[in-house]
């Protein structure tokens, strides 16, 4: 790892991100949602935590996860990744540089979204920690898929389920309104619901479940990384 090389990749990918319409427009998604929600109701009452976390889920899945996945897949598809690997940049430099770009973009988009909506949430240490775990989860999944696929077209095969299951989790309450339905019992264990539970005051159990998801995502990305590196050496 080398800071100079990470920054070189970061600068390059920041330009790529902002010049790629498909990626750049994802930034607008959470902002747009925040704008819509803030117009609903009487405009005075604070947005329910569920909607705030839906926006977080949209930002993490559509910008953080999809962004890095698409950037990796494109490098693979266009054969530019080979050029980077044949330079002094290591795979770690490349992944960190790209992660910084999508993290920055996600943070910018969420900040704008939070400013737009009346999210009178109190951010406890536990809920901030949980937010970071959730971000790591999405980043890891995005990197792992990015290391596995070789074209931008195949990313959507992974991306749609990731967005619907992990990103838009609270939507399930509209599709399946009965709280005791087995689907709802299962979705209660999905990561985003842990953040909502932590926000509502629970800590230990949801934090453990969320940590388990993040750990699983680390195992997934490590597996994908190892596999990729051994394929490189054939």
């Amino acid at each position: 790892m080398n800071t100079g090389r990470i920054m070189a990749i970061f600068e390059k990918d920041l330009k790529e991100f902002t010049r790629n319409m498909m990626l750049f427009t994802t930034i607008l998604l959470p902002i747009f949602l925040a704008f819509m929600y803030s117009r609903m109701g009487d405009g005075e009452a604070a947005l329910p935590a569920m909607l705030v976390y839906l926006i977080v889920g949209v930002a993490f899945s559509a910008i953080l996860c999809s962004g890095i996945m698409t950037m990796m897949a494109e490098e693979n598809e266009k054969n530019t990744l080979r050029g980077l690997i044949q330079s002094p940049a290591s795979m770690m430099d490349i992944l960190i540089g790209k992660s910084l770009v999508v993290t920055l973009m996600t943070a910018a988009s969420l900040t704008a979204a939070f400013l737009l909506m009346n999210a009178a949430l109190e951010w406890s240490v536990a809920s901030i920690g949980a937010l970071l775990l959730l971000a790591l989860f999405f980043l890891n999944v995005g990197i792992a898929v990015g290391l596995t696929v070789d074209s931008v077209a195949t990313t959507s095969v992974y991306l749609l389920p990731i967005m619907f299951i992990f990103g838009f989790t609270p939507m399930v309450e509209i599709v399946v309104p009965e709280p005791d339905h087995f689907v709802r019992q299962i979705t209660d264990y999905l990561p985003l619901y842990q953040n909502i539970a932590i926000h509502d005051g629970e800590t230990v159990v949801p934090l453990l479940i969320l940590a388990a998801w993040t750990l699983a995502s680390f195992l997934y990305v490590t597996w994908a990384f190892r596999k990729r590196m051994s394929d490189e050496a054939k």
Binding site: G4, A8, R19, T80, G83, L84, P88, E232, A233, K234
Partner: protein, 282 residues
């Protein structure tokens, strides 16, 4: 003098085919070495092994004193310049941004970038996006990218295929300049004229085996015959050996108005290739 690239008994087995059967050659410092062969003969595979992208299945491979097991080392990677058959640039970014990335990755000075851009005559285009460049321009930028850190060895896989003659010439000029700085260059090509102009040594590769190698002139010399080929205006051809007993016949042909062409048999490199493999090189 010790060779910069030394390959001995190199083999490469893919799942269901033996792409390289027995490859041996040496390249000295500052030389341009050309690997010539038809499509599928194993040129790209050989280059990929030397640049560490593929592992050999057998044989000895050494470049700059590094054995193939050390080809992933950063000092090795740093001393190579590579232009592969599918190298590409970031299309959305400008020429300047593309080269800036690699300048920073290799930690070299801006003056080197300015110099190589000037060498290929593209200094006026630095602010253009790569997607707006012509194919020949892109190839020249890729070459700039491959050499801006002044590598000790440069690997080029078909550097001029599908380019127009003017661009091809400018790439040749650039390569000769790079060679003059002492860089060792290994390239692959289908183009015999290119090999004749550029290479100090060439090797003919066919179906994973090197059939012959040497300097282009020496190869042409060794396959020349003593025959004079004569073509008549009605399409007839005749071969006469250049020996004293045929003096009268040869002189007669010289003054025969029906003769449209007389040519000694000094084969081009392409003709030599055809002689040894029975294949055309296209």
């Amino acid at each position: 003098m010790k060779s910069v690239i030394s390959v001995e008994g190199l083999k490469k087995q893919f799942d269901n085919e033996e792409a390289l059967k027995d490859i041996s050659f040496e390249v000295g410092k500052g030389e341009i070495f050309g690997l010539l062969g038809p499509s599928g003969s194993g040129k790209t595979t050989t280059i990929k092994i030397l640049t560490g992208e593929l592992e050999p299945s057998g044989g000895l491979v050494e470049v700059l004193g590094y054995q193939h097991g050390a080809f992933k080392k950063s000092e090795y990677v740093r001393s190579l310049g590579i232009l592969s058959d599918n190298s590409s640039l970031y299309e959305r970014l400008t020429v300047k941004d593309n080269l800036a990335l690699f300048r920073k990755l290799y930690n070299t000075e801006q003056s080197k970038v300015d110099q190589v851009l000037k060498d290929v005559g593209l200094e006026k285009h630095i602010n253009k996006r790569v997607k707006d460049l012509s194919k020949g321009m892109k190839q020249r930028i890729l070459l700039c990218k491959a050499v801006l850190h002044e590598p000790a060895v440069l690997f080029l896989d078909e550097p001029t295929s599908a380019l127009d003659p003017v661009t091809t010439d400018s790439i040749h000029d650039m390569l000769l300049k790079i060679k003059a700085r002492g860089t060792t260059i290994m390239l692959t090509t289908h183009n015999m004229d290119e090999a004749t102009v550029l290479c100090d040594t060439v090797a003919f590769l066919n179906e994973g085996i090197i059939i012959d190698n040497g300097s282009p002139d020496a190869l042409r010399q060794s396959y020349k015959t003593n025959d004079m080929h004569i073509t008549y205006d009605d399409g007839r051809t005749k071969q006469i050996s250049l020996s004293p007993e045929n003096k009268v016949q040869l002189e007669a042909a010289l003054f025969d108005t029906n003769v449209v062409n007389m040519k000694s048999d000094y084969p081009t490199l392409g003709e030599v290739f055809k002689k040894v493999t029975g294949k055309e090189l296209v």
